[in-house]
């Protein structure tokens, strides 16, 4: 029994931390989806940019982590804001079709990856684990990596914070109204363009936090943004479109599936499992597994 637990607990922690990471990126996607009905394919590059700034502040400017972390997060948020102003607003004014929007955000992502790539020569950006290299020893032969635990804590805090912003403040009401119906929101005096900018800022901040927390676990380079964004977006689809809590749950589902496959079968096909899960969900339950979770006015599932 203990042996089973000793095997299972690290797998569970890895799965949860990976899942929460995907979930955070999914949450960042959902913030933008809720406010502007746009999928932002540069999401992973926001995270990558956050990692790049954090890494730059630590290695080139020799600041400690607690200075570098906010610098990276703010840089990611500002880049999100810039993306909205440079691509989304002009394209939306022109009435561009959805795939032009996708390509527009992707263009900003490629530019960010290109700039970082020019500076780093597409080399790895290494950030040391926040609490040292030694894992926590819970019992004899049972240790837990605390970077994963940090990711889980951060996810819980961010989800609660986002829930508070969305449901308990006037700003959140305006954000929700903008996503629900833009024209009516304008009539009611909500500055929708400001709301869209804000949603990109918040989304960039969440993605930046996710990226920097993940950077010690898996090395980041300039091209790592898009794969992260894809995993995040898959967790949005698996969880449920436009529902922030469902996105996190979808991410956790994916992370657990991957960790269990890696732990008990083989690591070779774990990556494929993500796409198989996606295709299955798209075929059998296209609205997502947890689409009604915590949405007011609907039954809990």
């Amino acid at each position: 029994m203990f042996q089973f637990l000793a095997d299972f607990l690290p797998i569970l922690i890895v799965g949860l931390s990976l899942g929460n990471l995907f979930g955070l990126v999914g949450l960042a996607f959902t913030v933008i989806i809720n406010a502007c009905q746009i999928v932002n394919f540069a999401q992973g590059d926001f995270a990558m940019l956050g990692v790049a700034f954090c890494w730059f502040t630590i290695t080139a400017l020799h600041f400690p982590l607690w200075v570098a972390f906010p610098v990276g997060v703010i840089a990611a948020g500002l880049f999100g804001f810039l993306t909205e102003k440079a691509v989304i607003t002009p394209l939306q004014k022109r009435g561009a079709p959805p795939f032009t929007m996708i390509l527009g955000t992707m263009a900003m992502g490629i530019i960010a990856a290109g700039v970082v790539g020019v500076y780093t020569k597409f080399w790895w950006m290494k950030i040391n684990p926040f609490l040292g290299n030694e894992p926590w020893k819970i019992a004899a032969g049972l240790s837990v990596d605390h970077q994963g635990v940090l990711i889980i804590i951060a996810t819980v805090l961010l989800v609660v914070g986002y829930w508070y912003l969305l449901n308990k403040t006037r700003l959140g009401l305006a954000l929700r109204a903008t996503g629900f119906n833009r024209e009516v929101s304008i009539i009611l005096g909500i500055q929708t363009s400001r709301m869209m900018g804000l949603s990109f800022l918040v989304s960039g901040i969440i993605a930046g936090i996710a990226g920097i927390l993940c950077a010690p676990l898996s090395a980041f380079n300039a091209l790592q943004g898009l794969p992260l964004a894809i995993n995040g977006f898959i967790s949005v689809i698996v969880g449920g479109w436009g529902n922030p809590y469902a996105a996190v749950l979808g991410g956790i589902t994916l992370g657990l599936v991957r960790a269990l496959l890696t732990g008990y079968l083989s690591s070779a096909h774990a990556e494929m499992a993500t796409f198989v899960v996606l295709i299955i969900v798209l075929t059998w339950k296209p609205e997502g597994l947890f689409s009604r979770f915590m949405i007011p006015g609907s039954k809990k599932s």
Partner: protein, 310 residues
Amino acid sequence: MISYVKRDLLIFFILLGAAALLPCIAGEFYQYLVRLIGVYAIMALGLNIFMGYCGQVNIGIAGFFCMGAYFPTILQDKAGWHYLVALPVTTLISFLVGWGMSWPLLRLRGHSMAIGTMAFAMGVYLVFERFPTLTGGSDGTVVPGMTLLGQTMGNVFYYYLILFSLAVAFLMCYFLGNSQLGLALRAVGDNEDAAAAMGIDIKYYKKLAWLINGVLASVAGSLYAQQAGFISPDTFGLWTNVLILVMLCVGGTGTILGPLVGAAIMTLLPYLLVKIQHYTFLMQGLVLFGVLRFMPHGVVGAIAKRFRSV
């Protein structure tokens, strides 16, 4: 309208004639570039049918490209088939896979379709990367050369094979775009509900466009593998999907010359910047950004508009 369309055909054949004469004057490197442009242009033409005409989103074109490259290699290598037999068989396999995948994928719309097709491409990529005994895994595999009438075929043969395939693909897309079929596809792309109200079978036309896009990408893959002589999964990764999409968008979606122009621009760009290699990625992003912001219909669309207004 007719005159514009005929002008496109004329421009294409002038370009094709120039390309056909190129081996007489230019070296191997320039031929290599034209071969690459040809392969990418075939793929972008197929994507244009699905995205430009039919209005759907496909970020998974590299999945078909990958299948098209690997199946003939495996069939030649392990089963000893001739390339000219393996090519149609591969196309048939890709057709069947595309037909099977159309069931889950074509029910989606917009963003879900984007991620669904991308997942398909990543799945194909992973299949070919994770079975090293058959495909050489991530180290790649050597594509066996091809013999015809007792002679080993060289690069010049592949050059003309690619030009010939490009001409066939272009004429197919050209006549399809101007036929009743193309009209129906455009109607689906403009407004699905209105098209359905006009009695157009949306599902049928979407499936048709998807299969054309898959088959052309598969043929492009087969040609690419044979002319390169070596393939590894890296060539068919995530960024290839994006690159083809960028080519189409830079050239101009929904125009017949757009895919060719886009393929040429995006293929030549890294070689123009070969001195500052790290900047390639940044330049591609900037080109895409500039085209999206300032030329809504791509380079071809912008040029056509300029000429029309004069």
